[in-house]
């Protein structure tokens, strides 16, 4: 009997990827909600699972897996259920290319903006001494820097401008891509859709100047198609913060 446990935060960005991949494959898993805003991922009990202190992480029959996109690939390779990678080698290449583009070029910019408007302000309300101690417990030095910047709102204007440039360009490129094919990189729903959906599902709300029915009709058609999936509905129902409630608002807008 397979024992799968997933340590995750909200169905959003990185945590949402393996949640959705497991749900699509129909793999039962134990959900361990790990509250990023309470720094659960840097506490000793979690560091015993993933010493890097990053979420998500997954355990499967004693094996530990980290890095959201790599976990999704493992889930797809290892379990029965619908294949979330295309059969054609060139389509597979395209799916991987888009995931890297999101994970390493566009995603960090989305999250810089997300942290500055959402995570930073939420965390900042807490006791500074307690926050400082929490940051000191973060194992990866670059994550310590990122958290300090997010909490103090210290992303420089140059950094924010570059992130905004990337988000604008990335959305335009995604719009172009979805004008060529029904899904990202291929004609079927794959890991690339899961990956990119997790960072773009709220675009019509978070970036109304860049995305919406008039500006990005292809993205909106694709979002609607992905929102309609059972696995997406079930996964988003696992959310506990306002992030998940944005789902309902967008559904309402799409249905109009």
């Amino acid at each position: 009997m397979d024992e799968v446990t997933l340590y995750h935060w909200e169905p959003n960005a990185n945590s949402g990827k393996p949640m959705l991949a497991l749900m699509e494959k129909g793999v039962p898993f134990v959900s361990r909600y790990t509250d990023m805003l309470l720094f659960d991922q840097h506490k000793p009990e979690y560091l015993a699972i993933n010493p890097q202190g990053t979420i998500p992480a997954m355990t499967h029959n004693g094996l530990v897996l980290t890095e959201s996109t790599a976990i999704m690939e493992y889930v797809n390779d290892r379990f029965d259920g619908p294949d979330l990678m295309p059969a054609d080698a060139q389509d597979s290449w395209r799916v991987r290319w888009w995931m890297k583009f999101m994970d390493q070029w566009l995603g960090p910019s989305f999250s810089m903006i997300g942290w500055s408007v959402f995570v930073g302000p939420m965390v900042r309300q807490r006791d500074p001494a307690e926050l400082d101690a929490a940051i000191e417990r973060i194992p990866l030095p670059e994550r310590r820097v990122a958290w300090r910047k997010a909490i103090s709102g210290a992303f420089s204007e140059t950094e924010m401008a570059e992130s905004r440039r990337r988000v604008g360009l990335g959305i335009a490129k995604l719009e172009e891509e979805l004008g060529k094919r029904p899904y990202v990189g291929s004609d079927q729903y794959t890991l690339a859709d899961i990956n990119i959906f997790n960072s773009t599902y709220s675009l019509p709300l978070s970036q109304p100047d860049l995305a919406g029915k008039d500006k990005t009709p292809n993205i909106m058609r694709w979002l609607k198609r992905v929102y309609a999936r059972d696995a997406v509905k079930k996964t988003w129902a696992m959310g506990k913060t306002d992030l998940a409630s944005r789902y309902g608002l967008i559904m309402a807008e799409i249905e109009e």
Partner: protein, 261 residues
């Protein structure tokens, strides 16, 4: 299907892809292009260009299949392996595959940008700085990606960032340490059986042996492993495509240094 692999000198990303092609047994026409002359940004017949325009790897090879420009060396290696119906470059076991992809990502995210920075400073900066202003302007304007163009511009301007150099040296040393630890149990190849991880790691590390010799001084396992990879017929075949005497000293602007550290 019409396919052509456009590649630079066999080093870094071009070396990975040329060697993977040879390992896979797939037959594809290979055409050498002069990366430092900007030829990668002047390819004809591109109908799908996003991967060429916005690829993360910098001046890596481009596989053109029916007008679609395909980039990123690890994914091209996987493509050859899969197009061959499984040439053994990726482990069959799902967990071993996950380990390989994690390893490759560490290399391409940390070692590749560091090695490219050091390699370019040592071996390409003079050539890029010597491009006359007019010609450089034309070359720069043919580069679609703002961030890649900026890396070219920095080399052209002779910009030196001491903190970035120190960070890159530390990342090369860390990659050697990682290899040394991985090979400590006496295994021949990084993942146990030979895989894309060996090719991608070799491709970025081999050129560092001359530039960062101290990092390899106490790394006997890594040195022996580098020699094993170098001796593979696929790597020899890739290196034989060089048009310069020392391809491991041939560099062109690479991936950007991770913006979040």
């Amino acid at each position: 299907m019409s396919a052509v692999l456009y590649h630079g000198e066999p080093n870094g990303a071009s070396l990975t892809v040329l060697a993977a092609l040879a390992e896979s047994g797939v037959t594809i026409e290979c055409r050498h292009i002069d990366l430092l002359a900007g030829e990668r940004h002047a390819l004809s017949g591109v109908t799908e260009s996003i991967a060429l325009d916005l690829g993360i790897e910098g001046e890596g090879p481009v596989l053109m299949v029916d007008g679609e420009a395909m980039t990123e060396s690890v994914f091209l290696a996987q493509y050859f392996d899969e197009a061959a119906g499984g040439a053994g470059l990726q482990p069959a076991d799902a967990y071993a595959r996950w380990e390989m992809m994690m390893w490759c990502r560490q290399i391409t995210e940390r070692l590749s940008p560091a090695a490219a920075l050091l390699g370019n400073m040592a071996n390409a900066q003079d050539a890029i700085a010597a491009i006359p202003a007019d010609a450089f302007g034309a070359l720069a304007s043919s580069i679609v990606s703002d961030d890649l163009r900026e890396r070219w511009q920095d080399l052209h301007d002779g910009k030196i960032d001491a903190a970035q150099i120190a960070d890159s040296e530390a990342k090369v040393a860390a990659a050697v340490e990682r290899c040394e630890k991985q090979l400590a149990d006496g295994r021949d190849w990084l993942m146990g059986s030979f895989s894309i991880a060996d090719l991608v790691t070799y491709s970025w590390l081999a050129g560092m042996q001359t530039l960062q010799a101290a990092a390899f001084a106490d790394a006997s396992h890594t040195q022996a492993w580098l020699a094993r990879v170098a001796a593979r017929p696929s790597v020899q075949a890739a290196l034989a495509k060089a048009t310069v005497p020392e391809p491991l000293r041939a560099w062109a602007p690479g991936p950007e240094i991770n913006r979040w550290g």
